[in-house]
Symmetry: C2
Subunit: 131 residues, 2 copies
């Protein structure tokens, strides 16, 4: 059940992301979230740092089609680790990501306490690699 | 205290890694470990898959100098999430990695249940970026 919950939360946040709205992620990230992606020069520590990183790209991302590939959720007590490959096509071209999301249940509510987005291989992705 | 424990485990595994020995990581990874790095085409699921990935590079890696930059450990019950930047110089050239390690305590013993290594930016790193 935790599996379905966190996967649905992630999918909903991605749907908003693909329309240029980072708010889906910001709303489900914990105050003490830590965050890596390939474009930020350091780990971001805390929701305010993540907001400062995401707000300038609000309205600038458009995903036309995407797929969560092979999601897996490892549940350990009140922690759930979602790992997936995410393939997207849109304003940024074709991308294939590795993604880790660590969710923590606090007062019955799941929040992301750590996010790690990265590219497989180098950053140049060709379509035939996306199958 | 958990912070010191998992960071010391990671440092010890890295020391062996830098001498071409993946055994340090294999010994502290859980049977159900999941694993991402930039070079493997999919998520690896389970210790046997990780062994199969690591064994062919045994003896082939040599790190001459390295640094764990800005490590942070988020403890949530029996789960500890270590995040760090790892900078290394050696047989693979100069590399700057983002790293997430999720440790889980089972029967009093910490084991890695998820690993995510990735590159910051594209894969070409120049020395002045490493400061």
């Amino acid at each position: 059940m935790e599996n379905d919950t966190v996967l649905a939360m992630e999918r909903a946040a991605l749907d908003r992301w693909g329309k240029g709205d980072p708010g889906g992620y910001l709303e489900i990230s914990a105050p003490d979230v830590t965050y890596f992606d390939p474009f930020v020069s350091r780990r971001l520590d805390g929701i305010d740092a993540l907001k400062a990183w995401y707000e300038p790209i609000r309205g600038k991302i458009r995903i036309d089609s995407d797929e969560i590939v092979d999601p897996r959720v490892q549940v350990a007590g009140d922690t759930a680790i979602l790992t997936m490959v995410f393939v997207s096509h849109g304003s940024e071209g074709a991308k294939r990501w590795n993604c880790t999301e660590v969710y923590r249940r606090l007062d019955g509510e799941w929040k992301i306490i750590h996010t790690h987005w990265s590219f497989h291989g180098d950053n140049t992705v060709v379509d035939q690699d996306l199958g």
